[in-house]
């Protein structure tokens, strides 16, 4: 039987090893940098659609992390999502006419808030609000628009379009794609040849 003293020092070592392990888990594995919020200021931005944005999602300027999302609430009167961003006080010279957008990291990654700086000489401070925001792009909506465009253009291709349909299409496109203009121009171009190709294949099959 070991003496009580030896046992106690072994237990002490054991405890020390466990504390070291916990510290490693905290700082190396979960990347916990501080238990408290870093000093900074809160700004808010309201979005029509925040997609998969969550509390603690990163806030970036030009890809560099400047803060995190601290709260997300729904405005009860306008039905917009009001996102509060906690920005590190080191980055206190962000122009107040900058715009905030919700982007996706990678093809299927998490959402984050990207701030695009503008040229104003006054800066964002605690409590200020972004005037210009860009909502998250929802993949389902984009696909929906694409299919809508494709079906419209295929109608055009098969039957000569009636003049009543054309203006209707234009208005929906312009109202829906205020922020996603590049997508709207790309979609019909890439869409039309794709849809015509299978048609020729089908006819070939029938001939054979």
């Amino acid at each position: 039987m070991l003496s009580q003293r030896t046992i106690e020092s072994f237990v002490g070592l054991f405890l020390l090893a466990a504390i070291m392990a916990l510290l490693l888990l905290a700082f190396k594995v979960s990347g916990l940098t501080s238990f408290f919020k870093p000093a900074g200021y809160d700004v808010s931005a309201s979005f029509d659609d925040i997609g998969q944005l969550k509390v603690r999602s990163p806030v970036k300027v030009g890809g560099v992390l400047v803060g995190e999302v601290s709260s997300i609430v729904l405005d009860p009167s306008t039905f917009k999502a009001v996102v509060t961003l906690h920005i590190n006080s080191r980055f206190n010279e962000i122009p107040d006419d900058s715009s905030a957008g919700i982007l996706t990291a990678g093809l299927l990654g998490d959402n984050y808030v990207a701030i695009t700086p503008m040229y104003s000489q006054t800066f964002l401070k605690n409590g200020s609000e972004f005037q210009e925001t860009h909502s998250a792009m929802i993949l389902e909506k984009l696909i929906g628009q694409l299919i809508y465009k494709l079906s419209n253009s295929s109608d055009k291709a098969t039957a000569s379009t009636s003049s009543t349909e054309k203006p209707a299409e234009n208005t929906t496109a312009s109202s829906e794609n205020k922020t996603e203009k590049p997508k709207a121009t790309i979609a019909p171009v890439s869409g039309t040849p794709k849809l015509e190709k299978p048609k020729t294949e089908v006819t070939l099959h029938e001939n054979n």
């Binding site: 070991l2 009580q4 046992i7 106690e8 072994f10 237990v11 070592l13 054991f14 405890l15 090893a17 466990a18 504390i19 070291m20 392990a21 916990l22 490693l24 888990l25 905290a26 190396k28 594995v29 979960s30 990347g31 916990l32």
Partner: protein, 260 residues
């Protein structure tokens, strides 16, 4: 027919009685005024016997489990071109599930069975009754230090297991399979949350530790004082603990994912 119904009823009442006795035992150990001067050295001895002596098996199995998860995960992830995500895969599965559960299973086999056998033998050789004769409370002298020792050892063992397993994965993923060390750690840090993953895993291990050592102590204390009785009690201790761990793991995970 009648005898079967009687047997079923007797079994039900017996089970209920065992449960009640187990509850009373736990209650009497936890809700008593602790005697720090006498109890602490005894508890430390048990932390040594149950925790420190379990370190070898915990460290070795942690290392190999981390290594094998990394190896398996790497080959599956590489099919989707996502081998960079090996760090998060290993860290999340170890801190959330494998760490607490495997540590508790090993702890039940290594320390729980030993505690049951020890207390059972004490009972069979009438050491517990002779303590009572000498006006020494066996609950305070024998049961309580073992219970607290196991309760404190389990979370500590889990923390060590988690860390060793993640470093085992690092060994395989980075040193052997040639992943980038920076990507391994930084991807891990972005997807592992300290409170939701690490702390919840340790909370699980605290619950498992209490349940395992409670079952072990109770099975020993209520063992039939014969050699066959001790053998049966030790087996039941390991079997019940393992079942309790796996069942509780599901319940706790459901609660944690549901946000309590």
């Amino acid at each position: 027919m009648m005898t079967h119904i009687t047997a079923l009823g007797r079994w039900g009442i017996d089970t209920l009685e065992q449960l009640g006795k187990a509850g009373l035992l736990l209650f009497r150990v936890i809700f008593r005024v602790p005697n720090v001067k006498k109890g602490l050295p005894l508890t430390l001895q048990q932390v040594y016997a149950e925790g420190v002596l379990s370190l070898l098996i915990i460290v070795v199995s942690g290392l190999f489990i981390g290594m094998v998860v990394a190896l398996q995960g790497y080959h599956t992830l590489a099919k989707f071109g996502a081998a960079q995500q090996l760090g998060p895969l290993v860290a999340l599965s170890v801190t959330r599930e494998l760490g607490p559960v495997v540590t508790a299973l090993l702890f039940a086999g290594r320390a729980g069975s030993a505690v049951t056998a020890e207390i059972g033998l004490m009972k069979a050789t009438e050491q517990l009754s002779s303590m009572e004769m000498m006006a020494v409370d066996p609950l305070q002298r024998v049961i309580s230090p073992r219970l607290w020792g196991g309760f404190f050892s389990m979370p500590l063992l889990t923390m060590i297991f988690n860390t060793v397993a993640i470093y085992g994965a690092y060994l395989v993923g980075v040193k052997w399979l040639g992943l980038d060390a920076g990507a391994f750690w930084s991807n891990m840090q972005t997807s592992v949350d300290f409170h939701a993953d690490v702390i919840n895993g340790i909370l699980k291990s605290i619950v498992f530790g209490l349940v395992v050592i409670w079952i072990a102590v109770f099975q020993g204390y209520e063992a039939t004082p014969t050699s066959a009785g001790i053998a049966g009690a030790t087996t039941r201790s390991v079997v019940y603990s393992s079942l309790a761990i796996l069942g509780l793991d599901f319940v706790l995970t459901a609660m944690m994912i549901g946000g309590w």
